[in-house]
C-alpha cells in the first residue's frame, strides 16, 4: 500500500527559543515552570502590559548577562533614571547580546 498525503492541516504552537537548557527536549518543558519576564511577570509567550499582540509585535531581548525580558519592558526600565542602565536582575551594566541565529 502506498499512502499519499494530499493535504495535511497541522497545528503547532510557537515558543521563544530562549536557549535555556532543556528547551530542546520536547517532553521536559511541558511541565516545566513557565518562563516569565522578570519585569512584568508575564510569560514570554504572552505580551508585555503595553502590547496587545504577542509574538513578533512584542519580542524579547537578551542581555549578555543571560537574562531575558520583553523588549518593551526592558526599554522602559532603561529609560528610567533609577535604572542606571543596569540589568534589573543582577545590576550589571545592560549589554544587549548578539543573538546567534543558528542553534
Amino acid at each position: 500500500m502506498k499512502v499519499t498525503v494530499k493535504q495535511w492541516h497541522a497545528v503547532a504552537y510557537w515558543r521563544w527559543d530562549t536557549g535555556a537548557p532543556g528547551d530542546q527536549d520536547a517532553n521536559a518543558d511541558e511541565d516545566a515552570e513557565e518562563d516569565v519576564c522578570g519585569i512584568c511577570r508575564v510569560s514570554f509567550e504572552g505580551c508585555c502590559p503595553t502590547c496587545k499582540m504577542p509574538g513578533d509585535d512584542c519580542p524579547l531581548i537578551w542581555g549578555q548577562c543571560t537574562h531575558v525580558f520583553h523588549m518593551h519592558c526592558l526599554l522602559k526600565w532603561l529609560n528610567t533614571a533609577s535604572s542606571k542602565q543596569q540589568c534589573p536582575m543582577d545590576r550589571r551594566p545592560w549589554i544587549t547580546a548578539e543573538r546567534k541565529v543558528d542553534r
Partner: protein, 598 residues
Amino acid sequence: MKHARGEFIALFRARWLACLPPSFTLGLRLFLRTTLQTLSAHEKLFHILVQLGISERFDKTFIDVMYDELEQKILDSCPGIWREPRLEMIRKAAKELEERWLSAVYGHRFSRTENNDWFKNAMMMVTGRLDHFISRTLVELRTSEIFDIVVDFPDTLPAIQDLRVCCPFLFPLSWLPGSLVTRVNQRILQPAADTDDIITFYVSLIRCLRIIDPQGVILHKVAPPIRKYLRDRPDAVRCIVKRMTDENESFMQEGEQVVPIQQVHEAYDDYTDPHWLPEPVDAGADFRTTRPMDIVSTLVSIYDTQDLFIKELQHLLAGRLLAVRNSPLDDEIRNVEMLKMRFGEAPLQVCAVMLKDMSDSRRTNTHLHGEQSHPLYTTVISRLFWPTIQPVPLKMPGQFKELQDGFEAEFHKFKPDKSLKWVPQLGAVSLNLELEDRVVEVEATPIQAGVIELFSERDTWDLEQLMQKLGGIDRVLVQSALDFWIGEGVVKNEGSRYILLEKAEAAKGVSQRPPPVDEAPRVDERDKQQAEQMKIYWQFIQGMLTNLSSLPIDRIQAMLKFAPGYNRSVQELAVFLESARKEGLVVFTNGAWKLEKK
C-alpha cells in the same frame, strides 16, 4: 280617546309582559338570531314586536343578539389563524351588522332622514360597546393561544399586531402572564426541550411582547422563570454563543442598535427623554424601567458575568478556526468585530490574537512553500491565547515526521527566535491510499493517518505495537482509529491482530461503520479542564471542612461563592464531592460532608 288608547296599550303590555316566564329572554335571543340572515323578510315581525312592547322591554336582548353574532363570528374565523390580520375584518363586519340590525329593529319607527341625529347617537353608543366587546373576545381568544402564537413568531406577526391594537382598550392584561407562564412551564421548561428551542422561544417572546406591551410589564412577569431555567442549563451558554456568531441567525432586527453590554447593568434614568412614561400601574414592586436592550444583551444578562461567554466564544472560535482550511477568515473577523462592540475590546483580545495567529500562519506558509501547494499547512498558534490543549504524546510516523521536520527547519530559518511545538492530535489529513485493487480517498484525523501510515510499512500489527510506535498514546485513541479503518474496509481485525486488506473483502464492516468521533476529544478536554479548576477549590473545601468539621452542601456552596472565579452550580459541586468521596477523601453523614480522618 287617544288617552284611553294609550292607557289600554300600557295596561295590556304590563299584564301581558308580566306573564312571560324568565326563560323567554333566552328564547327570544335565539329566535332573533335566526332572523339575522334574512332581515328584510321580517320587516313585519319587528313591527309586531314593537307593537307588543317587546322591543322596548327586552332592548338589552336585542343588543345581546349582536354580541352573540359577533362572538360566533370571531370563534368561526379567528382561532388558529394568526398569519393574517383579523381585527379589521371583524370590526367591519360589526359595523355592517350593527347598521343592518339597528335599522331593521328600531329604524322603521324613525325615518332615517328625519331623525338622523338620534340614529347616529344611538349607533355611536352601541358601536363603542361593540368594539370593546370585540377587543375583549379577541384578546381572550388570543391569550389562550398566545403560546403557539409566540412559537410561530414572526409568521404570526399579524395576530400580534391585532393584539396590540386591542390591548390598550383593556385595563391590565392581568391574565396574559398567568396563562403564558403555565404554558411555558408545561411546554418549554422541560428536560425534553432542546436548549436551542428554549432560546428561540425566549427571543420570540421578547419580540412579541415588545410589540404588545412596549413598557415590558408582561415580559417582566413572564421572563424570570425562563431565565432561571436557562441559567441552570449547562449548554445554554454554548447555544447562545453559537447563535450569536452564526451568520444565518439574526438576533438583530432591522434598525436595532448594538448596545455595549457594560451599560446594561447601570441604572436607567434618562431625565431628558421626552417620551418618558411613569411606571405602569400594573407593574410589580420590583419592576424597573430597563434600558431598551437588544436581544443579545438580554440573553447575556441572564448570567451575572460575561466571562462565561468570552470563554465559550474562545472555545467556539478555536474550533472553527482550526476547522477552516484555506477559506477566507472574513466572516470570523467580522464576527469578532461585532462582538467587540458588545463586550468591549479588552475581553475579546484573545479572539483578536487567535485571528492574527491565523493570518500570520497563512503568511508563514506562503512564505515557506511559495505559491505552489504543499501537502503540509501548519497553523502556528500563540499557546496562551487559545483554549488549553491537553497534550497527547502522539508521535507521527514515517512521511508525516519528515513533513514536520522539514517544516520545523524552514520555520526556524524564517523566524530564528522561535521554535515550534507540534500539537499533533489536532488538524485533519486528506489521504490517498493506493491498494492493490483500489484507491481509497479519505479524510482522517492525524491519529488515524498515523495508524494507516504504519500499515504501509508492514501489513500486520497488534494494538500494543501501534501504541508504542505512535509515542505511547492512549489505547482508546488507537482503538478508535483502527475502528475507523475497519469501517473504511482497509483494515480487518483477527483476534488481537489487525491486518491490512490489500484486496477488498466482502464489505461487511462498511455497514457498521462507527460514528465519527471527532467531537469527542474536545468535550473530553473541557471536562478535564473543569476538573483541573475544581482542584483549586478542593483546597478551599478542605480548609473549611478542617475548621468547621462538617458542613451541608449548601453551606459549602455559599462559602465557595466567596472564592474568586467560582461559578459552579450546587449540582456540579455535588458531583465533585461524590467523586471525592469515592476517592476516600470525604465522608457523607447526616446530610453533611466531613473530611475522612486519616
